[in-house]
């Protein structure tokens, strides 16, 4: 290395300050964005806070979880939400029993077997189903169940309309998870001589099962909150009814509506408490679903 040349230190040219206009616009935009965030988040948090505040003390009473509203007038304190909780859970369970196999197999078809226009059509239609308002799904089941077949409005009919709403959610998330399973896994399986169905059933599905369960739980959370199908197909009942195929069955959203707008304080309390129960169930499902996704299976 030469020792002679000492380059004269070149002073870097001073960086010109930003034009004021740009700085000002940046500040304004920053303030607006912060403001937008605050304006949007405050009511959302406020909702949860309101429901919590008005509803929590009834939930602490063990009777809430074990009794129904039989013989309870709006002015009377007492009774519980067991009939509604049971109804919501039962209808969701029946819906899941029907919707999950359908949805998972549809997703399997779309990912593993489908090629070409038919698969694209099915995929497009699943997307459309995602956007169908719950009241339209309920009207369809009404037209089918009541108008065409002349049957009574029962809990099972509600479950059917919930099936329409749950299928797209589960199809989409199952599809995503199946696509995430690396192809190398499938190819290794085929190379070992495993038939295709066994590859899917014993290798691909178990790998993706975490995300699939998440999708199912998110779907359940969605349908448990749906009120429109209950309005059209599931009239309220104050007593416990464990039969999905006959009689009116209560559910949390209809219990809320039942106590809605009444001037008696016990009724108001029950309304908020039912709302809190519903939110709790939905949130627990959501959080558990996400936790399952995080701790298992294929990562993105």
């Amino acid at each position: 290395m030469s020792t002679t040349t000492q380059q004269p230190q070149v002073q870097p040219a001073p960086i010109p300050a930003l034009a004021t206009g740009r700085v000002v616009r940046n500040r304004i935009a920053s303030v607006l964005v912060h403001l937008a965030f605050a304006i949007a988040v405050v009511p959302l948090v406020w909702i949860l806070y309101s429901v919590l505040r008005h509803g929590w003390n009834l939930l602490l009473d063990s009777g809430w979880w074990t009794h129904s509203q039989r013989n309870i007038n709006p002015e009377r304190v007492g009774g519980g939400a067991y009939h509604a909780i049971f109804g919501t859970l039962a209808q969701a369970f029946v819906c899941a029993v029907i919707a999950v196999p359908l949805a998972v197999f549809t997703a399997i078809y779309l990912v593993e077997y489908g090629r070409g226009r038919f698969a694209r059509l099915v995929s497009f239609m699943v997307d459309i189903l995602t956007g169908i308002p719950s009241i339209v799904a309920a009207l369809f089941i009404y037209a089918l169940w009541v108008t065409t077949f002349g049957l009574q409005r029962v809990g099972f009919a509600v479950s059917l309309s919930l099936v329409l709403l749950m299928i797209p959610v589960v199809v989409r998330s199952t599809e995503e998870m199946l696509k995430l399973v690396p192809n190398e896994l499938r190819e290794a399986s085929y190379a070992l001589g495993v038939p295709k169905w066994k590859t899917i059933a014993r290798i691909v599905l178990p790998t993706a099962i975490g995300g699939i369960i998440t999708g199912i739980m998110l779907g359940l959370a969605r349908i448990m909150g749906e009120t429109a199908p209950l309005l059209i197909l599931g009239p309220y009942a104050a007593s416990i009814n464990t039969d999905v195929l006959s009689g009116n069955m209560a559910a949390l959203p209809t219990m809320i509506r039942e106590n809605f707008g009444l001037p008696d304080q016990p009724a108001i309390d029950r309304m908020w408490a039912a709302a809190l129960t519903l939110i709790l169930i939905v949130l627990i499902l959501n959080i558990t679903g996400r936790a399952v996704a995080r701790f298992s299976g294929v990562r993105k």
């Binding site: 909702i47 197999f105 956007g131 308002p133 369809f140 295709k196 009120t227």
Partner: protein, 326 residues
């Protein structure tokens, strides 16, 4: 030749006779059947709505959509107020909700520190899961009284007598209910939805683009406006349309807050009104005989077509964007 093949021939491997075993066929057909069933379901919805609603359209023709008279006694059905109500609440929801959603998304992706971003994003996604009846309850019991007291009454007193603004913002009996309030509650319902999707879109933009922009001296706002938004732009439109689809179909919260209408059309934002969904919901009690349900099914058909179109456009827009950037 024989020596070579002998060397590589495996001793006892059974040769598969058929390329696809029998159960393979069963499994494949089961999946196919499931996919077909989903298609059939959607087709069934379309067919049943058309069949159920057709008598109403056949009897009133396009008048079903333009007439304002809805009289169950005299079998006169006109859905014009429902159309106005549906479109105006959805429009208000978009006007209020989209800027706020974009604000949240931009805030979370660009301005928030990482320790803040993760929990808040999860929180917003959880908020999207809150059932709409809860929004309706909160709207009715908490928001509406405050709105009436702090916004509606002062505004009414202010604009009384003014020419144009006077009609739009005036309310004769300020109860806090009405189209504007319903639109605002709708906005709160679609904000978590649009914000989550937009945040995902913004996150997916390669950071190379952002860093290059910062590297040549752009301010944060300029990066957002000139780099991020154009890049994610079309997908944002898709997300907005999905939110619009949800706003159009929202039933419970709207029916609780939109108030009543006596059929007379009014320009005021604070007047009551109805949307297709709320109309159907409010009359659901009468659905025990199929005869009365006919016109409501027709209303449901209109709603279905509306949401179908909006969702189709949204998906096409998003798909084209995805294909373009891959």
């Amino acid at each position: 030749m024989a020596a070579v093949t002998d060397q590589f021939a495996a001793p006892d491997v059974p040769v598969r006779k058929t390329p696809m075993g029998t159960f393979d066929l069963v499994f494949r057909n089961a999946s196919l059947a499931a996919a077909l069933f989903v298609l059939v379901l959607l087709a069934g919805i379309m067919v049943s709505m058309v069949v159920g609603g057709w008598p109403a359209f056949r009897e009133f023709g396009l008048g079903f959509l333009t007439s304002s008279v809805w009289d169950t006694q005299n079998e006169q059905y006109g859905a014009w107020p429902a159309i106005v109500g549906t479109l105006s609440t959805a429009l208000i929801a978009l006007v209020v909700g989209v800027p706020l959603s974009l604000g949240i998304a931009v805030f979370l992706t660009q301005l928030a520190p990482p320790w803040f971003k993760q929990p808040v994003s999860t929180a917003i996604e959880l908020l999207a899961a809150v059932p709409s009846i809860i929004y309706g309850m909160w709207g009715l019991f908490v928001f509406v009284p405050l709105f009436a007291a702090y916004v509606q009454i002062p505004l009414s007193n202010l604009v009384e007598g003014m020419p144009v603004v006077g009609t739009i913002l005036y309310s004769r009996s300020p109860s806090g209910l009405g189209i504007l309030t319903a639109g605002i509650i709708l906005a709160f319902m679609i904000i978590p939805f649009i914000a989550s999707i937009t945040r995902d879109m913004l996150d997916q933009i390669p950071s190379v683009l952002r860093e290059s922009a910062y590297g040549i001296g752009a301010t944060t706002w300029e990066v957002v406006r000139h780099v991020l938004v154009p890049q994610a732009g079309v997908s944002i439109i898709g997300a907005v349309m999905l939110g619009l689809g949800r706003a159009l179909g929202e039933t419970i919260a709207v029916s609780l807050i939109i108030g009543t209408t006596n059929g007379a059309f009014s320009w005021s934002l604070f007047s009551g009104g109805e949307t297709f969904a709320s109309k159907i919901a409010n009359n659901a009690q009468e659905f025990d005989t199929p005869t009365k349900a006919g016109a409501f099914i027709a209303a449901g058909l209109v709603l279905f077509v509306l949401t179908f179109v909006v969702n189709a456009i949204a998906r096409i827009v998003i798909e084209r964007r995805k294909a373009f950037s891959e």
